[in-house]
């Protein structure tokens, strides 16, 4: 009987400590940041959020989802601040009154990857739309994110520019994150649109190579948007503003510009703000 009591006591102590360390009621200073998987997947998100939390003591709940979901969270007032990369949708979001202070502050770029054998013979072409046109007309395999992410939306823009639809039998929608989509393309030896950072981190493990880069349309711009506190009183406007300001600060600029230089021996992200902002 005593053994039972001791056992129960231990269990309760264990669980009690859980409540204290992990489950302690969070202060209301939490900031909910809705961002995209591409920001998280490079590792940049973690670095910036860690720095911010250390500096201010605030807690950020960074939820990495697809661009579509991030904007939707904004529309419901379920997030306090958005960090996304889909300019057309962002503009509409602000126009509809859901967001304020939209600020484009950094960019990286996409590259078009393809098999070494280059069946569509597009290697070295600079015009992204032309590349897509040729891939489609030669009916060579193209793998898409297929998930309405920023990358996917960019891809759709290029198809539109090209004026063609991809060949139905040579088009796969992976429905997954960037790394997995590239893995699928690698497996099936197809073409894929990917952001440079993902490519660099996967380079050693895949057979695909860059077949096209540098086109203006391949620039991937990231913006911050504050969710409109007038429309959603439950939003943590102060916390969001603090994070907003930090991400646009010089400290942030330094972190962003230096990110990845060591690992990939090139700069991944580029700062877009003028110094007076």
């Amino acid at each position: 009987m005593i053994q039972k009591l001791v056992a129960y006591a231990l269990v309760f102590l264990l669980l009690g400590s859980v409540f204290n360390t992990h489950l302690a009621a969070q202060e209301n200073g939490d900031v909910i940041l809705a961002t995209t998987t591409s920001v998280q997947d490079t590792g940049l998100l973690d670095v910036l959020i860690d720095a911010f939390q250390k500096k201010t003591g605030l807690t950020v709940k960074a939820i990495a989802v697809g661009t579509g979901q991030a904007l939707q969270m904004g529309r419901l007032g379920e997030a306090d601040i958005l960090w996304v990369h889909s300019p057309t949708d962002e503009k509409q979001f602000v126009e509809e009154g859901y967001g304020i202070n939209r600020t484009t502050f950094m960019h990286n770029d996409f590259v078009i990857l393809g098999p070494k054998t280059d069946p569509a013979k597009v290697m070295g072409m600079e015009n992204a739309a032309e590349v897509f046109k040729k891939i489609s007309s030669l009916k060579t395999l193209f793998v898409s994110r297929g998930d309405n992410s920023g990358t996917h939306k960019k891809e759709k823009i290029i198809w539109k520019d090209a004026g063609v639809s991809p060949d139905k039998n040579a088009y796969i929608e992976a429905g997954q994150g960037m790394a997995q989509t590239v893995a699928v393309a690698n497996e099936k030896q197809g073409y894929v649109l990917a952001d440079r950072s993902t490519y660099l981190s996967l380079k050693k493990t895949i057979d695909l190579v860059i077949v096209s880069e540098g086109d203006q349309v391949l620039i991937n711009s990231y913006s911050l948007i504050l969710v409109n506190p007038d429309k959603f009183p439950k939003v943590n406007a102060d916390g969001a503003k603090a994070l907003f300001n930090y991400l646009l600060s010089r400290d942030s600029k330094e972190i962003i510009e230096n990110f990845g230089k060591e690992k990939f021996s090139q700069q991944l992200f580029f700062w877009d703000l003028k110094d007076n902002q």
Partner: protein, 233 residues
Amino acid sequence: MNFILEGFRKGVILLFGLDSGVLAVLKLSLYISILATFIAVCIGVPLGSIIAIKRFPLKKIIIALINTGMGLPPVVVGLFAVLFLSRNGPLGFLQWLYTPKGMVLAQVIIATPIITGLSLAAVQSVDQRFYQQILALGATTRQSIWVLLKEIRLSVLAAVIAGFGSIISEVGAVMMVGGNIKGQTRVLTTATVLEAHMGNFDIAIALGLILLTMSFIVNLALTFIQQSKDRQK
């Protein structure tokens, strides 16, 4: 093939090197799933026993509902939990979204029907006369359930093991309700998904192996308890 071997190697390094990130994730996984299992057992075992013993209208329908609940897809539970816990949802005032509390809640919802259903079946499989015998010895309803459960403790522990297994390995609910936030709500399963997402397949495999190992250890402990009761025979 290289991936898998790399995964093993990385896994060993991460575990024995006591990488702090991995340890944090491991601890949180254990805390959340063990706590959720404990709560689910406190609800499910007595509930299953009472439903099995008592007669009441619509009993068969309720049992069918419980059996359906045993197969609830975790991701669906996560989805509904998010809807309820979100700011606009009816439970938004709790502010449990993107916190471990919310994750425990979601996992309790997943594990409770399983533990209830299995306890229910275990108690129902006992001869009705045996239960009457316990009553005939002068037990209150509460006492008789306690005595009965002690008799079928093998089956009850099996229910606990099944309940724990169902939630330690799920990713849908904890991903949606927790948000996979580093240092706050990241657990082994969501971390594995993230690493795979990022293309770090070797780390993903390592985490997966750590998850399996940890799950095995917990189940080993539970199984020892279960089988030790048997040795007395």
